[in-house]
Symmetry: C2
Subunit: 360 residues, 2 copies
């Protein structure tokens, strides 16, 4: 049995992102949005993996709020493959739960942990690298994919790549010299210039047994809590989930395991990655030769540099405006400068502190 | 019986204005909009006049498309007081029809012709001047109200005021020296500086008999067509309207009568008039000390100089933008620079030439 045949995708789809408000809402966060007109990013993640990992072995970890929407978006998935967290506890408990579920199904199963809300331009290359990563991790490694940086980004963590790991199945595999927290701008500029630093994009591959043993080693209390979930070997029912899950330590897998483990390795992922982190990012996806990015029904007269999006049957009409984000949904409109589109969070904050319920 | 007791208001409400798109639509033009939160401009016009002219003597001339909406907006009005043009033929036929209807009800009736889509700041002063105008017109005069200009406006016609008309009932009445078409900017600047020029705001007062005799004198063919409407003395039924009205000459009352008549007089109307001609104009109505004009549910963070309007239960949210117009309706959003808000017409034109039906 090849590594690929033992691989379970673990799609992380619990995000509550507010950066795409008003299109994103509590019940329709970024991973469920159709920003490009080809379906949701969650669905795209599923479809990218499907030739490597069949639906039966794709798990999605999400929130209870989103479980039904996830099943609707991925009707191919067995319903039991959607793991609904009763409350968000960051990535380490989520991955621990998925590892236990994978181990229950296949004691020698491998995990391919992949965020549900990322864009990949070159899917064939992506599949090549994922295949390498899966092969490599079977030898008890934690293989991350590191994205070669294209700008001095201060919003991501970084991975410094070390020497070649000399892995025959994964010729591009390198040791991890260090994980780094989000840098300041000067440091980011330095790292960008120096080469050898990669963005940590939250994609990694490891055996379920290794995930659990590393958790037990570095976060024993969390590991014991997780064990209680599968007490007796059966998946937790709603009552046990509700009793146990909220007591688990809320910690990221990076802090809990990656930055401490000596098993980490990295493959540079040169497949055109974007986390589509803000409205501004969509501008990079405008068609060749177009001055603006448009989605939905848009009339733009005498303008450019804009990100214009009309949800559903709505219409966005502009005359003579430049470098703006304009998003229309049936019940709300956002307007902000394109280069300040992360400030949409200020609006969400204002809504949260006011009577914003209909719009959250 | 005083002049006031013989006065019929003729509210001109046929406008199809597209300058307030997307709030205004074919079935909801400017006069039916609630731009200020105190009800529609049509209703405000009715209520301003109501202490002088009771509902039984207020007529509204509008289009067949808008008849029901007008009756809904003014439930006090006898349904027969809404005159529905089967097709728009400009103001002269509309006023001719109204004059015939007034004459049928009171052969000595007077007409107070008033647009349905204007804003008046000082309503008590307005009523004073309207009362003077009504008294003065009873002596077979056509009394217009001229607005003292506050800017070199090139979008209106002008009236040059002459000597005092020495009218005891209307001490502010002056002869009309001349009517002028819309000027170019240099001329408008000159007129503004010189004083003595007033904006023609389409408000005028005259006996029904004079309206009809002047039409017969200057536009005999139109007058004959109008007579055919009331053949036998009864108001026209739908069939006669449909047969006759579209054949009437489409011409404004200014061209047809005002500029030719020797009966014209004018009272300067210093009652805080605005025709609220564009989105930009609303900015002048922002509250004391406010940087932006807002209507409906609006969140504005770190911005100013904006006109922000959310229709119905919608929300407009902006961060860091200045001097824009942003209008949200359930099915469309408009964004344009405040000082170019007249360019909304370009959008309406684009919709008309495309498949814009849902938004027109």
């Amino acid at each position: 049995m090849s590594s690929l045949d033992r691989t379970f995708a673990v799609i992380m789809a619990g995000g509550v992102g507010s950066r795409f408000w008003p299109l994103s809402r509590a019940r329709r966060p970024k991973q469920l949005l159709d920003l490009f007109g080809h379906g949701s990013m969650l669905r795209a993640t599923f479809e990218r993996l499907a030739p490597l990992v069949p639906a039966e072995r794709q798990l999605v970890v999400t929130s209870a709020l989103l479980g039904d929407a996830v099943r609707q978006a991925l009707p191919e998935l067995p319903p039991a493959n959607v793991l609904e967290e009763p409350t968000g506890r960051n990535t380490a408990p989520a991955i621990g739960w998925a590892a236990l579920e994978v181990q229950r199904r296949d004691p020698a199963g491998l995990l391919a942990v992949l965020p549900a809300d990322q864009f990949i331009a070159d899917v064939p290359r992506y599949r090549e690298i994922v295949t390498q990563a899966i092969s490599a991790c079977a030898a008890d490694r934690i293989v991350t994919l590191g994205i070669p940086p294209t700008r001095p980004e201060t919003g991501y963590g970084y991975i410094r790549a070390g020497a070649s790991a000399a892995c025959p199945e994964a010729p591009e595999l390198r040791e991890v010299a260090a994980f780094h927290e989000k840098p300041d701008l000067d440091t980011a500029l330095e790292w960008l210039a120096s080469g050898g630093y990669l963005w940590n994009a939250g994609m990694f591959f490891l055996p379920a047994t290794l995930a659990l043993s590393e958790l037990a080693r570095y976060e024993p209390e969390l590991a014991r809590g997780l064990d209680a979930l599968y007490d007796g070997g059966a998946p937790p029912d709603a009552a046990r989930l509700a009793a146990v899950y909220p007591t688990l330590r809320s910690i990221s897998i990076d802090y809990a395991v990656m930055e401490r483990s000596d098993r980490a390795a990295v493959i540079p992922g040169d497949f055109g990655w974007s986390d589509v982190g803000s409205w501004r990012t969509l501008w990079d996806f405008r068609p060749e030769g177009a001055e603006s990015f448009s989605r939905g029904r848009v009339i733009e007269i005498d303008g450019g540099g804009n990100v214009l999006l009309a949800d559903g049957d709505g219409l966005v009409a502009t005359v003579g405006v430049r470098d703006l984000v304009v998003v229309h949904t049936a019940d709300a409109t956002l307007v902000c400068p394109r280069e300040a589109s992360q400030r949409v969070r200020d609006i969400v904050t204002a809504l949260q502190s006011g009577q914003g319920d209909p719009w959250l």
